[in-house]
Symmetry: C2
Subunit: 464 residues, 2 copies
């Protein structure tokens, strides 16, 4: 492709992207298709000769777009809604063109130092202490895995050489994201050594039961080594009592990792900074700008006050990547599994500068307001009930009917293409989840989905 062709196709692509984001309400949030439909439509082998970009872009529109779930849709309310914002997209474009790899300082001075700068900025927004060292991983799943590995290194420095001792036990709440348990499995700790502590009526970890469990394990000759509270659990966005959990963790000398992947972003609001109370005592914390800070996938921010322990857990420096030592040169590959490290900080830099703290706060605040307002409407409607507190922008609610009624209601809404909600199970009951998190979402979108919910409920009731 010549430069002029790239310029032309690049502009065409930008125009398509602009139109897409502008007209996104016209797309069904979920595609109307069956598994395999797209595979059946596409050739079973790649072409021998190259094809024209015109044809490729046309096929993108004709075949790929109709098979998309539109995460950037303002009525995408499933899981945790997120945003690929305009400035974030511009950052990603440049990252792709530069195609750098910040494995060591020398291979990407700008990649390395902008990572330090933007994570320093974000640390201040979150109100975390100065001694927290920041590093970007792709996802919170990976960040949490690194936290637990660092915890292992602290509890059992021989493990790097000898392997797991089998004595280590980790503690999470029954509402922790399943990626925490998966990380423990991956690290070879065994599910039997991961205690899921029951939660209270507001879905927060029961600290009394945490202490009991740790004490029982210690008496049994096990070593409690890591506790992972969550700020914004996946099912309900509940907030574990980090400060009292920190007390217990300290008593047992355990690493405290705070999973604030979703909820953490809200701490940039002065009125919500207290959600991270106790996190300043943590050994590590993860917050996902790609969840609720308008940054395209993927960018997860990880902070630790023990970078040397993290480094001991992961550092291996073979000759072919050795560079001159310099106290100011961070070689990020020493702090993680991945040798390949994209230039992720660029998009975060664009986002933080474009919105500024006030702009970012205003958007997050509006999401929370919409969610609270919707929760109010649900609460005052006789046919519906709120199923969990709403500390952030996630509303958990039920139609006052059977689980099957609620299941049918959800399928109805999602099949309409007008909105995408997800679900969870709380106290054995099927519950609908509606998470506000897209930058383009307006109150009118919530009104529309609420009307749709009520209408679908009526249909469900009639059918039953």
């Amino acid at each position: 492709m010549t430069t002029e062709e790239f310029r032309r196709y690049g502009r065409e692509t930008v125009d398509w992207m602009a139109d897409y984001l502008d007209n996104i309400r016209d797309y069904p949030v979920l595609p109307d298709m069956h598994p395999g439909d797209l595979m059946d439509r596409l050739p079973s082998a790649a072409p021998e000769q190259g094809e024209s970009m015109d044809m490729i872009l046309e096929d993108f529109e004709q075949s790929i777009v109709p098979a998309l779930t539109h995460w950037n849709h303002p009525r995408f309310f499933a899981y945790f809604a997120n945003s690929g914002s305009h400035p974030g997209i511009l950052g990603e474009m440049l990252t792709a063109a530069l195609n750098g790899n910040g494995m060591v300082w020398k291979s990407g001075p700008a990649i390395t130092e902008l990572e330090q700068v933007t994570l320093g900025w974000l640390r201040q927004w979150l109100g975390l202490p100065r001694e927290f060292f920041g590093i970007i991983y792709d996802t919170a799943s990976i960040g949490t895995m690194h936290a637990i590995a660092a915890a292992r290194e602290m509890a059992d420095p021989d493990s790097r050489r000898k392997g797991n001792s089998g004595r280590l036990v980790m503690y999470i709440s029954e509402h922790a994201n399943f990626s925490v348990e998966k990380a423990g499995m991956t690290l070879g700790l065994g599910q039997d050594n991961i205690r899921q502590i029951p939660s209270d009526e507001a879905f927060r970890m029961r600290v009394d039961l945490l202490r009991e469990a740790m004490e029982a394990d210690r008496r049994a000759g096990k070593k409690p080594f890591c506790v992972v509270p969550t700020v914004g659990t996946t099912s309900t966005s509940s907030i574990d009592p980090v400060n009292t959990i920190a007390d217990v963790a300290e008593d047992y000398g355990a690493w405290l990792h705070v999973d604030a992947a979703y909820g953490g972003a809200a701490a940039i609001l002065p009125e919500l900074q207290n959600i991270l109370d106790g996190a300043e005592r943590a050994h590590s914390i993860v917050v996902n700008p790609h969840k609720w800070l308008f940054t395209p996938m993927d960018l997860s921010a990880f902070y630790t006050r023990e970078p040397e322990i993290l480094r001991r857990a992961f550092s291996l420096v073979p000759e072919y990547v050795k560079t001159a030592e310099d106290p100011r040169a961070v070689n990020y590959m020493e702090y993680g599994v991945q040798l390949g490290r994209r230039f992720r900080a660029l998009k975060l830099w664009f986002v933080m500068r474009h919105y500024g703290r006030e702009g970012a706060c205003a958007i997050i605040r509006s999401h929370i307001e919409y969610a609270q307002k919707l929760a109010g409407l649900i609460r005052s409607h006789p046919d519906f009930e709120i199923a969990a507190p709403t500390p952030f922008s996630l509303v958990c609610f039920r139609y006052r009917g059977s689980d099957d009624d609620n299941r049918a209601l959800l399928e109805n809404i999602n099949a309409s293409g007008k909105a995408f909600l997800s679900h969870t199970v709380l106290n054995g009951r099927f519950v609908l989840r509606l998470a506000v998190g897209n930058i383009s979402t307006r109150w009118e979108d919530l009104e529309e989905v609420w009307a749709l919910v009520k209408q679908s409920a009526k249909k469900t009731a009639t059918a039953g």
Copy 2:
């Protein structure tokens, strides 16, 4: 940002990218700066109010670009050179705008199915058997970690629940990429349980010593569970004898994982398909399109003939991501650590279609030809010697002088800004590495760097 502003800044950004790639030879490959220079230049806190995109883009040019190591530069010859090609960049742009997450089929039908389609295409290009199941991970470091975790699941199905047994032993060559050892450490296997088998005079794993080591471990009550040969080692691009290693692995019932992160791409050339001989017997293999198949970072292709074992090692399906079961719907999150999964297949689809197999082969073939030709020039020059065979596009060579001479030579070249080479140590001697892998590299670039090498050597000799 309004749509019209995004359109304007997007086009401006595309123009910058086009100019950058067009004029990239004018940039020094390595920046002239000291660690901390960029950090010192940037504000220590993010702005309170949002800033104009004009200002942000200007700062990008003024501050970030001069601090970049230009991986997309045609005279970037360090590590393994790669390419963010035009079609790949266009794919990344769309991925950022769509901002999808293919954790389950439903959350991204197109993400999931295009991943299946493109990895099927690539599998055919590589000549791998039909039963290989493909999945995209971010990096080969992560892919290899998943391979070893699957190997553990096969050897010790109780480990998921109980944790590592301490009996498992893994085998790599002394020239395996260090990410393999790091993956073993991360999985909690312990460095003591990773055997680095010595290599022969061509830096290939010694199969006789592999067998001896496995036998000794078995006798000692250990369980040899995983063998990782490399096709294209990082130091020299040597090729371990996969077929004979497969014989040994089979005798011990061990998982065979082939690390072809760099070299694998060359197997799309009909005349080089034999480099993967034996890989068809492997349990898994990793090949990085982001290394030598013109795909922007990050995209690593992983194949396994045992997807069910991989799934058993990683599957956890909590209620909040449960979807209807369908035999044709793959939920990729069940096959890995990461819950967040970018739409990576799109850029690979663009690249494979734009170049076609013939076009892709022509580029890789030219890289190999340039490297062979340069190796010939080096070999016939009295002051230089070739330090390792050149099966691909990586040339390992030395100036016939001391290690310090060679170190000075390398620093000289890299300080010139005209090219970036890296180094390794072979048989205790400092060796220069020159890897051809950028899509814009022409033979003239090699001539220029060869002239520079000779000139720097003269300078070094005079100084000494």
